[in-house]
């Protein structure tokens, strides 16, 4: 009696099933949002709030410039600190999305009177956008399947290592915001296709604009969407909704994208964007034909008309393309694009692309490393998608398949495939779990009623008969469900482990275990950069291999000859030649480049293997007298495990200016030429 009494009291507060579900969903989303953020903070907790790697330092430097000088100065910035003596027109050679986003967040926080440093904003931009991506993944999942799949997708993408690798705190790179923009654009486009609403089409155009402003990977969108439209046309799924969505995205998106100076007129001039234009015209032809078919009642006449129109259209298109290509108005495909379609292209033609480790073809192990169980949930999800084919599922299938192919071609493109893999896997998980629970619930209910009613024999017999009709089904479902949860928990553990072990190192600071298990920190890079910043003339020119260019300008605040924006291969080759020639010959090149300091990275003392050993003379200068390891002769190179041959290196035109405490960075000063012979 008391029980019913309390329930009466609580009645007004008791939530209806729907509200309960909403509450749980919102709660889960909030938790996922937070989880996605905090799982990326390993590096901050373990090291410090700092910018990682190479490119992010350039982004950080430019963001600093935006916040200090304003947008227009940034847009017109000529950076004379890099690519000496050429310089770099920064505004016209970068995607400003990331910097502008960070600067806006910074302004907003300051407007709300949170006096944070711009560095903190930059460090946390990537995790923040990763959190936003989980929300987009939820809505995308909801759009293509149901809210359950959306939730699972949000959870999967929140911790997926493939995405975390580019979005940990401090990894302040274009990809951090671009994956959000990519998925958001796709979501808005699918929404537009599903609803046929002009508003969603407009939104997707703006999403596309943001993507174009953030990352060169927008080319993927502008090729995938036309391909998708083409597939829908071929499979007879053409609809007015598709027409509205695509035209809106293409026209508005193109016009908006032209506002980005780095992209400019590429949408009408570059070969990579021609597919989108072709499909756009095809759509018009299709629409026109549809209208003619509607007007003409005679099918024979229409067939004739169709033949003529299609032939004409194809011919006109072909001729236009041919003339454009021949006259040079339409530029041919770039090397990177070719290397995507043909993985061996870069190796033969553009060695500088092939030389970057993240442009290598992907090994199977890294698929397993980055996707874990998603790798086999992905085909299962594809099966479910094919089982319930719709415009939306066709899109996700195409996105999944193409991006998987690209992920196989280049390691870094695993990133692009991650959202698709997560979404498709989420469909698999959600559909499976749903099927299993339906199976379980239908029976437990009977059992429950039986037990509550408590009346004996007749009930028991009915229950028994139910059980007999489906032998072991309940147990099987239970086992499968537990299996699924076990796999998912393994996935979570794996992701956390990968994040903490592999993807949270800033690579500026190296950490190793000392002899007593204590943590030893090698902070040599910053030691050297700070030395440069403080103890060299303001206009000193530093020559180093291009990897360290961005870091030297950002942390050392000195002019560099080449940097990570590898736009001028000749310049890089000149530096490479200076680095690997004999000293006399190198000295001439160095003089001609007006270099004051030469910086080399050397791992012979610490066993740090990614160094510049081809500049061996500078690396090994006076190394022959150094005892690196107990019980080994002096001059024992720990990175290569050999004793060096020539221990008596003399330098004529250069002198050692600074060597860091662990010898990782060595800086040489270029002596002025002798006055007399």
């Amino acid at each position: 009696m008391s029980n019913s009494y309390t329930s009466d009291i609580l009645k007004p507060f008791k939530l209806k099933t729907k509200q309960q579900e909403l509450l749980i969903r919102v709660l889960i989303l909030c938790l996922v949002y937070i989880l996605a953020f905090i799982t990326r903070l390993f590096s901050v907790l373990r090291y410090e709030s700092m910018i990682h790697e190479f490119d992010p330092y350039f982004n950080y430097r430019t963001t600093l410039y935006v916040t200090q000088h304003g947008f227009y100065d940034f847009w017109n910035w000529f950076d004379y600190e890099s690519w000496y003596p050429l310089g770099r027109i920064v505004g016209g050679t970068l995607y400003p999305g990331l910097m502008v986003t960070a600067a806006l967040i910074y302004r907003l926080l300051h407007f709300l009177r949170f006096a944070v440093h711009i560095r903190e904003v930059c460090v946390l931009t990537a995790p923040f956008f990763a959190s936003n991506t989980t929300l987009v993944a939820y809505f995308f999942g909801k759009e293509i399947w149901d809210s359950g799949a959306g939730l699972v997708a949000a959870i999967l993408i929140a911790v997926c290592p493939g995405y975390i690798s580019r979005s940990v705190a401090g990894s302040y790179d274009n990809e951090g915001v671009a994956i959000f923009a990519l998925l958001f654009t796709f979501y808005l486009f699918v929404k537009a296709v599903n609803t046929g609403s002009l508003a969603w089409g407009l939104a997707s155009a703006f999403g596309y604009f943001y993507m174009v402003s953030a990352w060169g990977g927008y080319v993927f969108i502008i090729n995938l969407i036309p391909l998708y439209v083409l597939v829908l046309l071929i499979t007879g799924r053409y609809s007015m909704r598709l027409y509205v969505a695509y035209n809106c995205l293409y026209i508005l998106g193109m016009l908006l994208a032209m506002q980005i100076r780095f992209v400019g007129f590429q949408h009408v001039q570059s070969g990579e964007h021609m597919a989108a234009m072709g499909v756009f015209f095809l759509m018009q032809v299709f629409y026109f034909l549809d209208w003619v078919k509607h007007m003409l009642s005679d099918t024979n006449l229409f067939q004739e008309f169709l033949r003529i129109t299609v032939t004409c259209a194809v011919a006109v298109g072909g001729i236009a393309l041919g003339v454009g290509m021949a006259s040079g108005y339409i530029s041919p495909w770039t090397g990177r694009f070719y290397s995507l379609l043909d993985p061996t292209y870069a190796k033969d033609h553009i060695p500088i692309i092939a030389s970057v480790s993240e442009h290598q073809p992907t090994a199977w192990s890294s698929f397993m490393f980055d996707f874990h169980i998603l790798l086999f949930l992905f085909p299962a999800g594809l099966y479910f998608c094919f089982k319930r084919l719709s415009d939306a599922t066709i899109f996700i299938v195409m996105y999944g398949l193409t991006s998987m192919y690209f992920a196989g071609v280049m390691v870094r493109l695993i990133l692009v495939a991650t959202p698709a893999v997560c979404l498709i896997s989420a469909i698999a998980v959600s559909a499976t779990v749903k099927n299993l629970t339906v199976l379980l619930r239908s029976k437990t209910k009977v059992a429950q009623i039986g037990s509550t009613k408590g009346t004996s024999s007749a009930k028991a017999s009915s229950k028994a008969s139910l059980d007999q009709s489906q032998p072991f089904q309940k147990n099987g479902a239970m086992a499968l469900l537990f299996g699924a949860f076990y796999l998912l928990s393994r996935y979570a553990t794996h992701c956390t482990w990968v994040t903490s072990e592999a993807y949270s190192s800033p690579s500026i600071v190296l950490a190793a275990r000392g002899a007593h298990g204590n943590r030893v920190i090698f902070d040599d890079y910053r030691e050297a950069y700070f030395w440069l910043r403080q103890n060299t003339p303001l206009d000193a020119k530093v020559m180093s291999w291009w990897d360290y260019g961005y870091q030297i300008t950002a942390m050392g605040n000195r002019t560099v000859i080449v940097d990570n924006n590898t736009w001028n291969n000749t310049h890089i080759a000149t530096v490479g030649r200076a680095m690997s020639s004999y000293e006399d010959e190198a000295y001439e090149i160095i003089r001609s480049l007006d270099v004051d300091y030469v910086l080399v990275v050397f791992g012979g003392v610490t066993g740090y293997s990614s160094d510049d050993i081809n500049k061996y003379k500078l690396s090994y200068y006076r190394f022959g007298e150094m005892m690196t390891e107990y019980g080994k002769p002096p001059g024992y190179d720990r990175a290569r495990g050999v004793e060096i041959g020539n221990k008596d290196i003399k330098l004529e035109h250069l002198e050692e200016a600074f060597t860091t405490s662990n010898w990782i960075v060595r800086i040489y000063k270029v002596k002025p030429p002798n006055n007399r012979w």
Partner: protein, 596 residues
């Protein structure tokens, strides 16, 4: 300055001790003055040559106390810059006011401490890594004074006993690292005898070209001190190669002139200490603390050779109650002025005291003259910024590390301002969310989709009501069942009948309520999809209701006829089975409708 017409006979035992440390030269003069003139005199002039005056950072005169005496807090004698007439222009004068006038024949002994910066000149000016650093100190062996000097001696204390050269005068003695000139007797006024000492000094020549200290008071219990240093090694410039190999192998020989670390003595209970620079955290530092002090040892990123620069920031928090006091309704901050670094010369020191927002009536009390102005700083959650008192002083030495006070008014209520702002911010955010959820903000109220949406919402509301009614019916059924169970336990037939009656009434009412809802659903076009299910639900429920009634009547009947329990059970067994099945169907239907 008429007093100058009278001649002072100074019986001065001036032991000019000059420990030449790093970039500082401390000169301590211990002197006795005796009035030989006829008039009472209360001012004593101190003279410094131009070169020294330019470098003088600190000057203090204290009454001399006998040796071995327990040190009382010494009251410094007031010292002022003076500009007496009839004196050589190349000299700079300071006047010391004596505590009481000195009559003829009286004598008084006092100490003068003067600190000079940048007085040591490295010679040679450039050295290599392997060289030792030699510096030159110049002074006068005779005490330069506008008065006649009776007895005087000078001793120069050096950090190391390696002396390259020194001026040899009569009466010059050398004792290890100490050179002693004198005593000289009966010197006329303004006697000058230049000396130069050239000696080795490898003590750290750390010079902060600029130091900005920011002291931020939070009345929530913290004083946050942030110090931005721009440091240079002020000794001989290094030239040629820097060899890490040599430096690693023999740091004390190949790199003797360099300094590798600095020590800061922070106040006790300093917490959250950090040490970083523009490009990030510097991991080479050590912190040791006890109840008296906190010692922070910091290593710059690289060893500091002559002429090398570095810049860094250290920050620490201090407990508020150690530094903030109240007097006469005013609060005041009592904290040291200068850097906690040991042996550091500061060329330009800027101290910024950031008071909490809403402070007023600000005044500063410092024991030496400082340049002063006010700024505002906008920090977390500030509306119009926090008042900042800026104090600037050039040529600062450790002797300036004295306490100074900043007085201000601050109301305790202002503390609540920021939390309230946060709370109201969140409050308005949620209110905005609620308004957004409940307000109808669609532009076109007559469009088809909008109407359809509204109709659908109405339908949903009606379905919700139907569901409520059905579930109330189901509860009534459960009550009936409960009454049956009570009956089997107590045998009270009347109670059971009463329950039946109540249930009958309730159910009738409910079915009445249900009717208009169903008619609405039938009329509404957007309910077409759900209608069959709802109708099925209602039909099933009615069936269930009838079955329950039948069962109830049967059981009550049985009891009235006093049949055995088993008998009754047998009778209703079949009905019960049907009931269960029906109930299951109704539940399923409810769930299905719920999911729409």
């Amino acid at each position: 300055m008429k007093s100058f017409r009278f001649c002072f006979l100074m019986l001065t035992i001036a032991i000019l001790a000059s420990p030449a440390l790093s970039d500082l030269v401390l000169s301590k003069v211990d002197r006795r003055v005796e009035n030989a003139g006829p008039e009472k005199e209360s001012l004593v002039l101190l003279a410094f040559p131009e070169q020294q005056a330019k470098n003088m950072a600190y000057l203090m005169a204290t009454p001399h106390e006998g040796k071995g005496k327990v040190k009382n807090p010494v009251v410094a004698l007031p010292v002022e810059a003076a500009n007496p007439k009839d004196m050589p222009a190349a000299l700079t004068f300071y006047s010391v006011s004596l505590p009481k006038g000195l009559a003829e024949g009286d004598s008084f002994t006092f100490d003068v401490l003067a600190v000079f910066t940048h007085a040591l000149r490295p010679i040679p000016e450039q050295i290599t890594q392997a060289d030792i650093q030699l510096v030159l100190y110049q002074d006068s062996a005779h005490y330069l004074s506008p008065y006649a000097v009776k007895v005087q001696s000078l001793s120069v204390k050096l950090p190391d006993s390696r002396i390259e050269s020194y001026t040899k005068l009569e009466n010059t003695k050398i004792h290890g690292s100490e050179i002693k000139y004198g005593p000289y007797e009966n010197l006329p006024s303004f006697s000058y005898s230049p000396i130069a000492v050239h000696f080795e000094s490898n003590l750290p020549f750390a010079v902060a070209q600029e130091l900005v200290r920011e002291i931020e008071i939070s009345h929530w219990g913290n004083v946050q001190v942030t110090e931005h240093y721009k440091l240079i090694h002020g000794g001989a410039q290094s030239k040629g190669e820097f060899s890490r190999l040599d430096f690693l192998a023999r740091p004390n020989v190949r790199g003797a002139s360099a300094f590798r670390y600095l020590v800061a003595n922070l106040p006790p209970r300093a917490h959250s200490v950090y040490y970083r620079d523009e490009i990030g955290n510097i991991s080479t530092s050590h912190l040791r603390g006890d109840s008296k002090k906190t010692e922070l040892l910091i290593e710059p990123r690289y060893p500091m050779f002559g002429g090398w620069r570095t810049a860094f920031t250290i920050g620490y928090g201090l407990p508020l109650q150690d530094f903030l006091y109240e007097s006469d309704g005013k609060r005041f901050l009592n904290i040291t002025f200068s850097s906690p670094m040991v042996e550091l010369v500061i060329d330009a020191l800027i101290v910024k005291v950031v008071l909490p927002e809403g402070s007023s009536d600000i005044s500063v009390a410092a024991s030496f003259p400082v340049e002063q102005w006010q700024e505002t700083k906008i920090s977390h959650l500030d509306i119009d910024g926090r008042p900042v008192v800026v104090l600037k002083k050039t040529n600062v030495v450790p002797q300036h590390n004295q306490f100074f006070q900043v007085y201000y008014h601050f109301s305790q209520l202002s503390m609540l301002r920021e939390p309230l702002m946060l709370i109201s911010g969140f409050f308005f955010f949620f209110v905005a969310c609620i308004v957004y959820m409940h307000a109808d903000i669609s532009i076109s109220k007559s469009s088809a989709s909008y109407l359809a949406k509204q109709q659908w919402e109405e339908v949903q509301a009606v379905i919700q009501q139907v569901q409520n009614i059905i579930s109330r019916c189901l509860t009534t059924h459960d009550n009936l069942e409960a009454s049956l169970r009570d009956l089997s336990r107590t045998g009270n037939i009347q109670a059971c009948k009463a329950a039946r009656k109540a249930a009958d009434g309730l159910l009738k009412e409910l079915s009445k309520e249900l009717k208009p809802l169903l008619t609405f659903l039938q009329s509404s076009p957007s309910a077409a999809q759900v209608l069959p299910k709802v109708e099925e639900l209602v039909a099933k429920e009615r069936e269930l209701q009838e079955k329950v009634m039948v069962k109830h009547s049967t059981v009550v009947d049985g009891y009235e006829k006093k049949l055995g329990a088993r008998d009754i059970e047998n009778r209703v067994a079949l009905q019960q089975q049907k009931l269960t099945a029906l109930r299951q169907e109704v539940d399923d239907l409810l769930e299905f409708i719920d999911e729409i």
